[in-house]
């Protein structure tokens, strides 16, 4: 097997990831993950997609993206986290996932797109979509419209959450909870949290990491909900590594001295993976699938936020 066929694709996404990382160092508001996926989408749609890039890009999706998720396990910190908070995070995750599926059914969105939308909104956006898509045999159009819709929603949240925070005078904890549980992509959580206060970032990301660990349940649920004939449950290796890493980090101090390099490495891998995912997102999917998936996402997201608001005011 010739490795040279991987070079162009891998080279492109690594270039995007490097550019994004560099940009994020220049300006922290340019989160590497967000910029990577946006750059991937723009490059993939504005320039001709060459077949020579395919092998490398697919290779990145199947190696670097899972590796990035797996390494993020070492970033999960349960210190200063109450069990009730984890329960609330899980409830929000369930609400987002269930409500999106329900609304998708109401609005006649096909099942695979519905699962991808629900997975992306409830866990980790484009990453979840990329993980779930092959497991449920989704079409490229399903994946594309899901990522575009999630991207759209995430950017909206990322821009408006600080405004919402100022309007509703949320406490830091409330804002971190809101951003960590309802924004689909990690980069968006980081940008939104950073725009409120630099300290919010870590707390919001902690919540976000807890959500990412729900990928374990998500994979199982997604396979069960899909219309695939052979519903064989197979937990991806990176989820196991993610959970293993999280457990080790939270129970032992083995990785303490490597946490920063691991964070950088996982961020870079994820950045490259998202650039690769973005590269294959096709705007034509919007024409084929329409605005309904976006509408369903916004509706489910809005309902859950309203529910959170009411619960906050009641309790």
């Amino acid at each position: 097997m010739s490795l040279s066929r991987y070079f162009p694709g891998v080279g492109l996404v690594l270039l995007i990831a490097l550019f994004s990382s560099a940009l994020s160092r220049v300006n922290a508001s340019f989160d590497a993950l967000v910029v990577s996926i946006i750059a991937g989408i723009l490059i993939g749609n504005l320039f001709t997609r060459h077949d020579s890039l395919r092998s490398g890009i697919e290779g990145v999706i199947s190696v670097l993206l899972p590796a990035g998720i797996a390494l993020y396990g070492t970033q999960v910190s349960l210190s200063h986290m109450h069990g009730s908070l984890i329960l609330f995070i899980f409830l929000v995750f369930l609400a987002l996932f269930g409500l999106t599926l329900l609304l998708a059914r109401v609005f006649n969105i096909n099942r695979k797109t519905a699962i991808l939308l629900a997975s992306g909104l409830s866990v980790c956006g484009a990453t979840a979509v990329a993980v779930i898509s092959p497991l449920i045999g989704a079409r490229r159009e399903d994946t594309s419209i899901s990522i575009i819709s999630l991207m759209m929603l995430g950017l909206t949240g990322m821009i408006f959450y600080p405004i919402v925070n100022d309007i509703f005078l949320l406490s830091r904890g409330e804002f971190n909870f809101l951003a960590g549980t309802t924004l689909p992509m990690m980069g968006q959580v980081k940008v939104a949290a950073a725009s409120v206060c630099p300290e919010c970032v870590d707390e919001a990301l902690k919540i976000k990491f807890i959500r990412i660990s729900f990928l374990l349940f998500l994979v199982t649920a997604a396979i069960f909900l899909s219309d695939k004939e052979k519903k064989k449950i197979r937990v991806p290796w990176f989820i196991i590594v993610f959970l293993g890493g999280a457990i080790i980090v939270n129970t032992t101090g083995i990785f303490n001295s490597f946490l920063d390099p691991l964070k950088t490495l996982s961020g870079f891998c994820l950045s490259a993976g998202l650039a690769a995912i973005g590269y294959y997102v096709d705007f034509d999917a919007v024409i084929d699938e329409g605005i309904t998936p976006l509408g369903v996402l916004f509706l489910a997201w809005g309902v859950v936020i309203l529910m959170m608001y009411f619960i906050r005011n009641i309790f």
Binding site: N27, A28, S29, F30, V34, I38, L42, N45, L46, F47, T48, I148, M151, M152, L155, T156, M158, I159, V191, S195, F283, D284, V286, I287, G290, I291, L294
Partner: protein, 524 residues
């Protein structure tokens, strides 16, 4: 390299416009902020270094926030614009799909019309165009089916005599594939001789703008010539010949038939010309339709078209109008064979006898349309028959005389009986037997029939050399006359005025000399 889809152009345009707005706006805001800070510091200088540092960091922080957020807002707006422009893009995509469907030959395409804007109007127009195109295509396909269903090959030729279209029958008959034929010059399918024929025909047809039918040999794919009958016509558009259409008829069978017919005709002609008799075919107008070579020998020029009575009898009216027997008329009237013998004058004025056998030629309804006259010169045969008849009569007479001789030896009885037999056989009215008296040098009638004794007493003695009997006795030659009254050999007036007409005198020979003469006469 850069995609050329409309959606990407929109994205590109959007980004350019967005950059044109956000970049100057950002720098304007920053500039204004710096100006405001400077103005503020001019009025109220910073109280301490930290305050001053915060003041100076303000614009850079603002810039740090504005740039990424502008970027994110732009991306968000871009995506939203794609969602919102979907209707337009759907219409465009539908039009693209429709165009591709039509390009692929699917004319049943009906595009979904969304909205009521210009694109919707274009989509509706497209649907109408597709429907119209389908209608016309179906019509064309039907015509094409008809053309392809034709058993006869067909080609369409342009102004430059290049083939622009052929039907299935063409490829089947000549073995060429459609691709081999399209674009080729028509002259590639003919040898030099046939190409010349075709060239003349095409030039003539183009010039006169008329159709024509001609025969040529077309070269098939395996190189063999194939005889075809070409029915060609110009294709005229606005009074200008823009092409030609040629329909081919496989002429192999017909050519074979024609050759066969020609061979048969030649054979029949040979057979007919080999007949020694004259053969004429005469139509109802008594015109000669055809004649064999033997018949042609008897007329000058071709008899075809001439009246039979004019050719054979040199008459200006039909024979039957002149009261003659006409075999052709007889056959036309009865519808049956008719056989007769006619006496005609030969080239030298001699009598010629012709046996004519007339046979009807009937059409499918049984009507006699023509008559075959087979004319045989039977003059020799008639003469032979006459001779045989005479010989027979002689033999009968001899036989009769021999019979008489065997029954009696009495001279009187024998001569009288012979005289009677001769008169009876030759159908004369009477006769007499003269015996020569050598001493007196005259002849005496000793036996007679059909004349009175008184006449015999006056005319019963004839001198040798006088009148016909006397001359016969001297010369020993038979003498006959059809009218004794006008015959100069008769000298005596009594004999001339006896009322006899036909007269025959035969010498009676004895041993080495003539002993008398035998005379027979008739009053007719």
């Amino acid at each position: 390299m850069v995609r050329t889809k409309i959606v990407y152009r929109l994205i590109g345009m959007f980004l350019v416009f967005a950059a044109m707005i956000t970049i100057p706006l950002t720098f304007t805001v920053i500039s204004q902020v710096n100006k405001m800070i400077a103005e503020e510091e001019a009025v109220r200088p910073p109280e301490n270094q930290e305050y001053e540092k915060m003041h100076h960091a303000f614009s850079s922080r603002l810039l740090e926030q504005i740039i990424p957020y502008s970027f994110y807002i732009l991306v968000m707006a871009l995506m939203l614009s794609i969602f919102l422009s979907r209707k337009m893009l759907v219409s465009l995509k539908e039009l693209q799909r429709g165009a591709k469907s039509i390009m692929d030959g699917d004319l049943d395409v009906a595009l979904r019309v969304t909205g009521d804007d210009e694109l919707a109007a274009v989509t509706r127009a497209f649907n109408e165009m597709a429907a119209s195109l389908k209608e016309k295509t179906v019509d064309l396909q039907k015509k094409n089916t008809y053309v392809d269903a034709m058993l006869d090959p067909l080609w369409i030729v342009d102004e430059m005599n290049r083939v622009t279209d052929v039907n299935l029958a063409f490829t089947r008959l000549f073995g060429y594939s459609r691709d081999e034929v399209i674009g080729a010059s028509i002259y590639d399918f003919f040898d030099e001789q046939n190409a010349s024929v075709i060239r003349n025909q095409l030039n003539d047809r183009t010039e006169k703008k008329t159709a024509s039918i001609y025969e040529a040999n077309i070269i098939t794919r395996d190189g063999s010539p194939l005889p075809v009958l070409i029915s060609g016509a110009p294709i005229i558009v606005e009074d200008r010949v823009v092409g030609k259409i040629g329909i081919f008829k496989d002429f192999r069978e017909q050519k074979e038939f024609r050759s066969e017919i020609e061979r048969s005709r030649d054979y029949v002609e040979t057979v007919v010309n080999s007949i020694e008799d004259q053969l004429l075919v005469i139509d109802k107008d008594y015109r000669i339709v055809t004649a064999n070579r033997r018949a042609l020998e008897h007329v000058s020029g071709s008899p075809a078209g001439q009246y039979c009575y004019s050719v054979s009898h040199d008459l200006s009216k039909p024979c039957w109008a002149e009261g003659h027997e006409c075999p052709a008329q007889n056959v036309f009237l009865t519808g049956k064979n008719f056989r007769t013998t006619h006496q005609h004058s030969g080239p030298g004025g001699d009598k010629r006898f012709h046996e004519i056998v007339a046979t009807p030629i009937k059409d499918v309804s049984g009507n006699v349309t023509q008559v075959i006259e087979l004319i045989r010169d039977v003059t020799d045969r008639i003469r032979h028959e006459e001779e045989i008849f005479l010989k027979n009569r002689e033999l009968i007479a001899l036989n009769s005389i021999a019979g008489l001789l065997s029954r009696s030896l009495r001279a009187d009885e024998i001569f009288m009986n012979v005289l009677d037999r001769m008169i009876e056989m030759i159908k004369m009215d009477g006769g007499g037997i003269f015996f020569i008296d050598e001493v007196k040098r005259d002849m005496v009638c000793q036996y007679h029939r059909g004349i009175s004794d008184e006449y015999i007493r006056m005319m019963g003695r004839i001198r040798m050399g006088e009148d016909i009997p006397g001359k016969v006795a001297v010369t020993g030659q038979i003498m006959t006359t059809s009218d004794i009254s006008k015959d100069s050999r008769i000298e005596r007036s009594l004999m001339k005025h006896s009322g006899m007409k036909g007269y025959c005198c035969i010498p009676v020979r004895g041993k080495e000399r003539i002993i008398g003469v035998f005379c027979l006469f008739s009053f007719k």
